[in-house]
């Protein structure tokens, strides 16, 4: 077992455990804490996979932006009381079993296929290749992404400033 694999397994276990805790928490604020754990652990996984740029973006955007946004929304909405989970037993079992079966099936397929097609060039992907691909081959999607962000900005402002749904302002 190489050092990289050990570090990868550590971050993977951390990500899985804290992702389960995100779903299981009753209090939304604690969920946000575990979401921050999950996001940072996934950034560690990205670093192990030699996607350093992706890891840095993950820490900046998720760890710095989205988690703080969640905290603000919970504080503004003042969600102190837990929302009761009223659901009958049979639908609950059903909707948990469906993703569990999906995971088991695909995990079986993944692990039964010939193992250890080793990933990870030891030299690492150079950042220049990523930048060049982003600026040449994927220039059009890149610009469309900026248009999407502009549309989201305008849409979020318009939705959030209306007092009610019947208000046309």
């Amino acid at each position: 077992m190489t050092v990289t694999l050990a570090i990868f397994l550590f971050f993977a276990a951390l990500a899985i455990v804290s992702a389960v805790l995100v779903v299981l928490q009753k209090n939304a604020m604690r969920s946000v804490l575990y979401l921050a754990f999950t996001v940072l652990a996934i950034a560690g996984v990205f670093f192990c996979l030699q996607a350093e740029y992706l890891g840095a973006i993950q820490i900046l955007v998720y760890g710095g932006g989205i988690v703080v946004l969640y905290v603000f929304v919970i504080v503004i909405a003042n969600l102190k009381e837990a929302v009761p989970e009223r659901r009958k037993l049979f639908p609950k079992i059903f909707i948990v079993a469906m993703p569990a079966l999906l995971a088991a099936e695909i995990a079986l397929a993944v692990f039964k296929s010939r193992p250890a097609a080793a990933a990870g060039p030891e030299g690492g992907l150079e950042l220049g290749a990523l930048a060049e691909a982003l600026m040449t081959t994927y220039l059009l999607p890149f610009e469309i992404a900026s248009i999407l962000l502009l549309a989201v900005l305008i849409g979020a402002v318009i939705i959030a400033r209306r007092r009610s749904l019947h208000d046309s302002r």
């Binding site: 995100v22 609950k92 948990v96 999906l102 993944v110 990933a119 990523l130 691909a133 209306r162």
Partner: protein, 100 residues
């Protein structure tokens, strides 16, 4: 050297946990967090495959997925705040006005 099977399994597991969260929880904000988990699982798979095929494309697609996740979070928060302002609750049970 990380086997690509492990990376795919990890991404799929995170995706499934997020799917359970979206389907089971009733709290709108925790549902949005589970959506982030779903997209993060997809990102792990994309980064792992990019590493496996020694191509920058995985990182490029994962970058676009992150952009989309941020947009979805912003619009989702706007909708949750607007809904909360009307109903004073953050419970998906009350969202039944389009049921007919």
């Amino acid at each position: 050297m990380i086997p690509v099977n492990l990376v795919l399994g990890l991404g799929l597991l995170i995706f499934s946990i997020g799917l359970v969260g979206v389907l089971v929880r009733k709290n709108l904000i925790i549902m949005l967090m589970s959506l982030e988990l779903l997209l993060n699982g997809v990102n792990i798979i994309l980064a792992g495959l990019g590493c496996h095929f020694k191509s920058p494309r995985g990182s490029v697609f994962a970058l676009f997925v992150i952009v989309m996740a941020v947009s979805e979070a912003a619009v989702g928060f706007a909708l949750v705040l607007s809904y909360f302002r009307q109903k004073q609750r953050a419970d998906a049970d009350e969202l039944n006005e389009l049921k007919g």
